[in-house]
C-alpha cells in the first residue's frame, strides 16, 4: 500500500480526490486511450497469437488449411475445457491439480459404461448419452471431494487436489488394468470425427457453447462476481454475508465437471478410453490460464485471456510439427512462451500501479 509512505501534505492535497472518488485519472486524448487499449493483456495476447499464426503460415501455408485448423481445434478443446474450470478456481486464489487424472477417470468410466451398454445391444445414442452422464457424474464427484477437503478439512487447495490426483490415477488403474477401453459402437467414431462447418465437429460445437456460457456467468452474474470477491479478499466476502464455503465447493465441482466433459471429448476423438489420457493436462490448463493474464494470487483474470492462452499453448505444438521443428525443441518453445507471457503480465501490472498513484 503506497499510501503508507505519503506525507500528510500529500494526503491533504488528495482530499479533493477522496471526496470525489476516482476523479481525474482517465486519459483524455485519443492517443492516450489507444495506448490504454493496447496495454491490455488480452490485446497483447491476441497480437502474440496472430504473430504466431502468421509465422507458421509463412513457413508452411498448410498451417491454415482446413485439416490443420481442425486438428488444432481438436487439441485445443480438452485443454480449453480444463482451463475454464481452472480459471474459476484460480480466480478464487485456489488451484486444481486433479483435473488431468479426473479427465482420465471420467473418460474410462464413460468408456466402460458405453462398452457394457453396447454389448447389451442398447441403442448407440442412448449408450453415448449415458456414458457422457457417467463421465460428468464422476467429474463432479471428484470436484465435490476436493471442495469438501478444502472447506471442511481445511486442506490447502494444492495439497487437497494433489491427493485426489493421486487417488484418481490409482482408480484409473483399478478400472482399466492398464488397458485401453474400446468396444463402443461405430457411432462413437463418427460423432467424434464428422466435420461440421468445415473445421468443427459436434463435440467441438458443444465445447464452444460451454465456453460461452462459462464466460457469461463469470462476467455477468452474481456467481462470477462472488468468485472474484472471494479471491480478492475472502474475509471481506464472508463479512459481506457470502457463503464462501458453499461457493468454493461449487467452483471445484465445476472444475471437475469440465474435466468430465474433457474426458468424453478425448474418448470420442480416440474412439477408446485410455488410462493415460489427461495426465499432465492440468499443467497445460494452468499454463493457459496464467498466460491469459489471470493472477495465481486470485481476484483478477478474464476468460478472454484464457481462451487466447489455450490457443497459444496448443497451436504451438502442431505448428512446430508442420514447420519441421524437432520434438526436443517443442518443450523449450512452450516454456519460453510462458515466460514471455508472464513477464509481460508483470510489466503491465506494474505500469498500472504506477499510473494509479500519480495523483
Amino acid at each position: 500500500m503506497s499510501s503508507n509512505t505519503r506525507t500528510n501534505r500529500e494526503n491533504d492535497s488528495a482530499v479533493a480526490a477522496a471526496d470525489e472518488i476516482g476523479g481525474g485519472h482517465e486519459p483524455n486524448s485519443p492517443q492516450g486511450r489507444l495506448k490504454q487499449v493496447l496495454m491490455r493483456q488480452d490485446v497483447i495476447l491476441l497480437g502474440v497469437l496472430i504473430a504466431m499464426v502468421a509465422f507458421f503460415t509463412s513457413m508452411n501455408p498448410l498451417f491454415l488449411s482446413t485439416n490443420s485448423l481442425a486438428n488444432v481445434l481438436q487439441d485445443w478443446a480438452p485443454v480449453m475445457l480444463l482451463a475454464i474450470g481452472q480459471t474459476y478456481v484460480i480466480i478464487t486464489a485456489g488451484i486444481d491439480l486433479s483435473v488431468g487424472s479426473t479427465l482420465g477417470l471420467a473418460g474410462v468410466s464413460g468408456a466402460l459404461i458405453i462398452r457394457q451398454l453396447h454389448e447389451s445391444a442398447v441403442d448407440p445414442t442412448v449408450a453415448i448419452m449415458l456414458g457422457l452422464l457417467t463421465a460428468l457424474v464422476v467429474g463432479a464427484t471428484v470436484g465435490l471431494i476436493n471442495g469438501l477437503l478444502i472447506t471442511r478439512v481445511k486442506l490447502a487447495p494444492f495439497i487437497a487436489t494433489l491427493a485426489t490426483m493421486g487417488a484418481g490415477a490409482g482408480a484409473i488403474l483399478v478400472l482399466t488394468k492398464g488397458v485401453q477401453i474400446a468396444g463402443g459402437p461405430r457411432e462413437v467414431v463418427t460423432l467424434g470425427t464428422t466435420r461440421v462447418l468445415g473445421v468443427l465437429t459436434i463435440p467441438l460445437l458443444i465445447v464452444i457453447v460451454i465456453l460461452v456460457i462459462a464466460w457469461l456467468v463469470l462476467e455477468q452474474t452474481r456467481f462470477g462476481r462472488w468468485n472474484y470477491a472471494i479471491g480478492s479478499n475472502s474475509f471481506a466476502a464472508r463479512a459481506a454475508g457470502i457463503n464462501v464455503d458453499l461457493h468454493l465447493i461449487k467452483v471445484y465441482m465445476l472444475s471437475g465437471l469440465m474435466a468430465g466433459f474433457a474426458g468424453m471429448f478425448l474418448y470420442l476423438r480416440l474412439g477408446s478410453g485410455s488410462p493415460t489420457s489427461g495426465s499432465g493436462y492440468e499443467l497445460t490448463a494452468i499454463a493457459a490460464v496464467v498466460i491469459g493474464g489471470t493472477s495465481l494470487f486470485g481476484g483478477s483474470g478474464k476468460m478472454s485471456g484464457t481462451v487466447l492462452g489455450a490457443f497459444i499453448t496448443t497451436s504451438v505444438l502442431s505448428g512446430l510439427i508442420l514447420i519441421g521443428v524437432g520434438p526436443y525443441w517443442q518443450q523449450v518453445v512452450v516454456g519460453v512462451l510462458i515466460a514471455i507471457a508472464v513477464g509481460m503480465q508483470q510489466v503491465g501490472a506494474g505500469k498500472l500501479k504506477r499510473g494509479a498513484t500519480s495523483a
Partner: protein, 332 residues
C-alpha cells in the same frame, strides 16, 4: 542316492553358474523330492512374480507359464501386485515366495536395484532364480535371464513396413519416449532396417509420452504435411492407439501401411479391421516356459541345458498369417 545327488546339485548349481561348464549328463524327467522332502516323490513348486498381474502382456506370460507347468508336472505359484508396477508392491510377493520355501523362483523385477536384495536372499536360501523381461543389476547369481529383443522388434517392423510399401516411399515413426530403453532400442532397430532401403525416406519422429491424443495430433499434422505418406510405425500401445485414431479421422485407415507393437486385444482387433497392417508381438508365454525349463534344470542339476542369457525373437502378426500367429495375442 537320487535325493543326495539332487541336494548337492541344487547347492552347487548356484555357485557353478558363473563357471558353467555343462558337464552333467543326467536328465531328470521324473519328479524329484523337494529339499526338505520325505519318502514319496513330490511336485516341484515354482514361484513366479510378474511385474504387474493385470497387464495383458503379463497375463499372456501367465498363460504360457501355467500351460508349460502343467506339461512339466510342476506346481506353479503365480502371484504379483495386481494393479501397480512398482518395487514397493512387488517385493512383498518375492519375500513371501522365499518364506514359502519354493523350489525355484522366476521374477520380472520392476527395478534392477530395488529387487537385488530379495533376489540375492532367495539365492542364498538355496532357491534358484531366473529373471524374465527385465532383470537385476547383478546377474551373477541367476540361473538365467530371458528377455524380448527390442532391437529385433524394431528391425522386424522396419523390414515388414518396407516390404508392405514396396521398398520406397515416405514413412514416419510415432515413438513414445525419447529415453525409455524399450523405445530407443526399437527405434534403433527400425532405423537400421530402413538403411537397407535407399528409396524409403523417414520424414519424422515424434514422441507421444504416454498420451494417445499427442500421437493423434502429431500423426494428423504429419499427414497434412506429407499427404503421400506411405507408412507409419507406432512404437508402443499408447502411440498405436493414438495413431489408429488419427488414421481413422483422416479417412486413410488401411491406405497407409501401419505397423504396431505388442499384441494387445484392442490392437489385434484393429489389425483384423485393417487399421494396422502388422503387429510386432513379443512372446511372453514362451519366455516364461523357457524360464521354467531352466529353473527345473537347475534344481535337477542339468546345468548343461541352461543358457544364462536368452534374447527371444518377436513375431510379425498380420491378417494373412493370423491363423498361425493369433496365439500370440496377449492373452489368448
Amino acid at each position: 542316492m537320487v535325493r543326495m545327488r539332487t541336494m548337492v546339485a541344487s547347492a552347487a548349481a548356484v555357485g557353478a553358474l558363473a563357471l558353467t561348464a555343462g558337464c552333467s549328463a543326467e536328465n531328470a524327467t521324473e519328479t524329484t523330492p523337494s529339499p526338505g522332502g520325505d519318502e514319496t516323490p513330490q511336485q516341484l513348486t515354482i514361484g513366479f512374480v510378474p511385474g504387474i498381474a493385470s497387464d495383458p502382456f503379463f497375463l499372456a506370460m501367465q498363460q504360457g507359464a501355467e500351460e508349460h507347468a502343467a506339461e512339466l508336472g510342476i506346481e506353479l505359484i503365480w502371484q504379483g501386485a495386481p494393479d501397480e508396477y512398482s518395487p514397493q508392491s512387488q517385493i512383498p510377493f518375492v519375500q513371501s515366495m522365499i518364506t514359502q520355501q519354493v523350489d525355484g523362483l522366476i521374477v520380472v523385477p520392476t527395478d534392477p536395484d530395488a529387487l537385488q536384495p530379495s533376489v540375492d536372499e532367495a539365492i542364498a536360501a538355496g532357491i534358484p532364480v531366473a529373471t524374465v523381461d527385465t532383470t537385476v543389476t547383478d546377474q551373477s547369481g541367476l540361473v538365467s535371464h530371458i528377455t524380448g529383443d527390442n532391437v529385433d522388434g524394431g528391425h522386424l517392423a522396419g523390414v515388414t513396413l518396407a516390404e508392405q510399401i514396396g521398398g520406397s516411399g515416405q514413412v514416419f515413426l510415432m515413438s513414445g519416449s525419447p529415453t525409455a530403453t524399450t523405445n530407443t532400442l526399437r527405434q534403433q532397430g527400425f532405423e537400421e532396417a530402413l538403411a537397407d532401403y535407399p528409396d524409403i525416406e523417414l520424414v519424422g519422429i515424434e514422441f507421444a509420452n504416454s498420451q494417445p491424443a499427442t500421437a493423434t495430433s502429431a500423426v494428423t499434422a504429419t499427414l497434412i504435411q506429407y499427404p503421400d505418406l506411405a507408412g507409419i510405425f507406432a512404437i508402443d500401445g499408447t502411440s498405436g492407439t493414438g495413431t489408429a485414431a488419427a488414421l481413422r479421422n483422416a479417412g486413410v485407415a488401411g491406405d497407409v501401411a501401419f505397423i504396431g507393437y505388442d499384441a494387445y486385444e484392442n490392437q489385434v482387433a484393429d489389425l483384423q479391421e485393417g487399421v494396422f497392417s502388422a503387429l510386432i508381438a513379443q512372446k511372453p508365454g514362451e519366455m516364461a516356459a523357457l524360464a521354467l525349463d531352466f529353473i527345473v534344470a537347475a534344481i535337477n542339476g542339468d546345468t548343461g541345458t541352461i543358457e544364462p542369457n536368452v534374447v527371444m525373437e518377436n513375431v510379425v502378426m498380420t491378417n494373412e498369417n493370423f491363423a498361425e500367429t493369433s496365439v500370440f495375442q496377449y492373452p489368448n
